[in-house]
Symmetry: C2
Subunit: 195 residues, 2 copies
């Protein structure tokens, strides 16, 4: 099973984090973004969004880090990280959407500008970041984990760009419940340090 991967990508880190936590073996295939490998075949055929990560498992080809988390956890992770019942799946999906939209356009976008000179509006991204972190902090005030009272793929989806946020000049230090949650995740067996 092959993961087309970029070490510094938070979206790729989401998948590597789950694989490490759930003991799923992945063959990493580095993608050369600087030479636009993601915009050329075969990468561009596998993902017309021209993004990493892409997972290839036999005849199955998947783009989108959230979709890959669902696939890996549901296929190889037992029921620990992605449950079989719709109530739990929906609880988790709330956070998959939150990372695809709110986190992507705040914490992640600020880092993309700062670290990779992406042509995005860093001021707008920074302006959205406190509300995102505050919502997380309020949720984690009363919950040890994002969904289902236990670590799930919601953690793998949300943690990476929170942990990497300081690289985009976002100050996460005021959010003590977020800090506690990060510490809990970082001390789970198999947790993987951020890139």
């Amino acid at each position: 099973m092959k993961l087309y991967d970029v070490e510094a990508s938070g979206n790729c880190y989401k998948v590597r984090l789950l694989a490490s936590l759930a003991n799923i073996e992945l063959q990493l295939e580095p993608v050369d973004l600087a030479n636009n490998e993601h915009r050329k075949p075969p990468m561009a055929d596998m993902n017309p969004l021209a993004q990493v990560p892409v997972l290839v498992d036999g005849s199955s080809v998947l783009r989108d880090s959230q979709a890959i988390l669902v696939y890996l956890a549901g296929t190889y992770g037992g029921l620990a990280w992605w449950p079989s019942h719709a109530q739990g799946q929906a609880e988790i999906t709330q956070w998959l959407s939150f990372t695809a939209n709110e986190i992507q356009h705040s914490l992640c976008a600020a880092r993309l500008v700062q670290k990779f000179a992406a042509p995005l509006d860093k001021a707008a991204a920074l302006a959205k970041s406190p509300a995102v972190l505050l919502l997380l902090d309020e949720h984690l005030r009363n919950n040890d984990w994002l969904a289902m009272a236990r670590p799930t793929i919601a953690e793998c989806a949300v943690y990476p760009y929170v942990a990497l946020a300081p690289e985009g000049d976002v100050d996460i230090s005021p959010y003590q419940h977020v800090a506690g949650w990060m510490k809990r995740l970082e001390t789970l067996p198999g947790s993987l340090p951020k890139p």
Copy 2:
């Protein structure tokens, strides 16, 4: 089972569309956005993002239209709209992320500005829209449906803001495979006209 709903909201329409297609009974509870009902308790407690829709089913409270689709289809829709196996769930999740991110910040954002005077960048939203529609069109050139070769909640998640895109001055007429897919969806039993 109660859906906190705004008639003109494409995100609420996603849920109403699934309910209609899958014959799931919902009690609609209109939310008065003009009077900021979504920013005050009890709505703000149910969804700290201060958005509709919100679904309440017994003790279960869910925000986020994608999460609500997963819950309703998985709990009340049999296996027709949301399968039990991770491969199908992941195929669909690719499109749930696509609507939460790419469609939200293009087709949806342009309409929010045009129709509701939302403080967003309409020019930026319009600039992103052709790539979103082209990706859909290319996918639908070789596929009748978005995932699993049959209608699923991917359709409920993606169709609404495509169908409503002309309200944001986005021209969808060049995309003939998208048009064919829309027609197929609109002629399914129980399909619900756009608001």
